[in-house]
Symmetry: none
Subunit: 188 residues, 4 copies
DNA sequence: TATGAATGAGGTTTCATTCAT
DNA sequence: AATGAATGAAACCTCATTCAT
């Protein structure tokens, strides 16, 4: 891991632990094992670092899910896979998942151009759109269906984080939750 | 409105607009029309102010919903009322609703004793527990049902905020969303 | 003890424990059991309180020693009594004794008019002057003899405070020290 | 003189003139010709600066006297040299000498680990111990003899500072004072 | 005589950022 | 690419003091 990546990884850990304001750049540099000035050599400002970290995590997540979105096969299967893998990713990367929320509810969000969101969500939105058109999903606006779907990924994650189940039970609950989500979103 | 309340109201507005770190205490005092020291006379630290604001909003919200939770009548009706009034409250108080999320995803959350959450959520949790026991709701843990329910309040709110509908359409969508939530949570 | 005296007593304790700067007037008021404003009703400023405390302690000490200075009998006896009782007073009132030094080495000393010192030291200076004139003490300036005499009161006090002896040994050491002081100051 | 030393020298001057509390760090930085932040780059807090200054002066004084303590020759001669050079150092460095007293009678003294004092006083204590063992000095505890000796250095200094004598008279008085001290401390 | 809410000047300290090396 | 001493603006907070009651 080169210095630039080390800075990013350290920043993630510290931002999540202590917040943006609670994490001085000097501490990031120190714990990343680089000099104070090196951080600013790679990222012009602290906010640029924060945004770069946000984008890198969002990309990672998007790429991770993308294969399931673009997979061959029934839409319903792909839909379920997206849900389940999103929850898995969140459980495996809790700091990254938390960082996204933290950033989303901060005044720094506006520094990310709107286009980027649309871009990243596009394959995903298209799939849902297709599901609605093909009368597999409810006849509601894509945005509403998407919002409710996302709300549930976050809901089940919150539950699992607090519940502390073993791996088998956890898997069971994720499936139960998906069944419930499906009952909510499926065409009737 | 006395000075202490004026400070709280101003802090809400500024924290939501510019973030915690982006809002100097001096600005809060200035715009609240009090001296700098007055803020610290009433709240020992900036963080104490932030926490007090959080608690005051949570109380307000809890009290607002409480009447619907404790109402006479069918559980199903009360359940629907809670959903709808929660969304209404959020739409009428977008700053307060945003502030809660902002605070929830900040490192300051740990300054609020766990007991407070349990306390506030209790009547609400009991209602859902009763619904499950009476086989009106899915046979799942109370916490899971609660998490998914809350996720939907947030989901529909996000959609409505972005969609910019007129009052009638908005009401319609809230009802649609509730029907979907009910399909997800009802006993089958 | 009325409020004014309670403030003085509390101030002494806190100033000695935490220093002038380390002791807010609000803390003095609080621990004295009076309101914030009451302190300023009795003492116009914090410094006025500090000076009043200093003067009150100096007066107390001066009055305490005065009887021995003005006593009938041999100068040598009176001289010894002054030494011994000064040390005793310091041991019985360590906070007051410390406060005097603390104040002496602070920039507030200049707020006490020079005349006051002369006034208080006068009987004492006259006695030493008389001792010198009568060839009981060394033929040196009164001020030098006084400075050396005072230095010894402080020296033995420092030793006793650190040594932690029992009452009998302590008395013995005070007498030994006086014998040494006498060897230093007596006419030869 | 580099910036760190410049800060120390300026702090000495201002602390002695206006006291610890009367000297803002911003004034120290300004008069030292460095930026405000530079002071805190080198000394984490104002108190750390105060302690560093104290230690540096104590070291300087200790090193200055050390050569006389460790010199060849009669103990009595070395003893006299220590007295005289201590007084000379104090007269040549009145600010430093005053600063030590000022710090000694402040609540900051406790920030200096006890060990440091013992360490610095050791050669000095050993010499007095030797003098007592060899029956050149009074058969009293080392600590008592030391305390009385130190008390006299301070006593004569106080006298000279107030008396404003010319160089010759001053030297004469220092010698007289030493003779008196010797009469007090010598074995009989 | 006593109170305590309110004040605002000013202090210490932090920290993102720069720049000569 | 990397460093780290130096910067100075700005933040939080303290606290002596006032004043209406």
């Amino acid at each position: 891991m080169d210095k630039k990546e080390k800075i990013l990884a350290t920043a993630l850990r510290l931002f999540v632990a202590d917040g943006f304001h609670g994490t001085p750049t000097s501490k990031i540099a120190l714990e990343a094992g680089v000099a104070n000035g090196t951080l600013f050599y790679h990222y012009k400002t602290k906010e640029e670092l924060m945004v770069a970290l946000y984008n890198s995590i969002k990309s990672e997540l998007a790429n991770n899910i993308l294969s399931f979105v673009q997979a061959e096969g029934f839409i319903t299967t792909r839909f379920k896979n997206i849900f389940i893998h999103s929850v898995h990713w969140a459980l495996k990367n809790p700091e990254k998942f938390y960082y996204i929320q933290q950033f989303n509810f901060s005044p720094h969000l506006v520094k990310v151009p709107r286009g980027v969101f649309k871009q990243q969500a596009m394959p995903y939105t298209q799939l849902i759109g297709e599901g609605i058109r093909k009368k597999l999903l409810r006849q509601q606006p894509v945005e509403l269906v998407t919002a409710l779907f996302n709300g549930q990924v976050y809901g089940i994650y919150q539950y699992l984080k607090a519940a502390d189940l073993d791996a088998g039970e956890q898997e069971k609950k994720i499936n139960d939750a998906y069944d419930m989500v499906w009952d909510m979103l499926k065409y009737m």
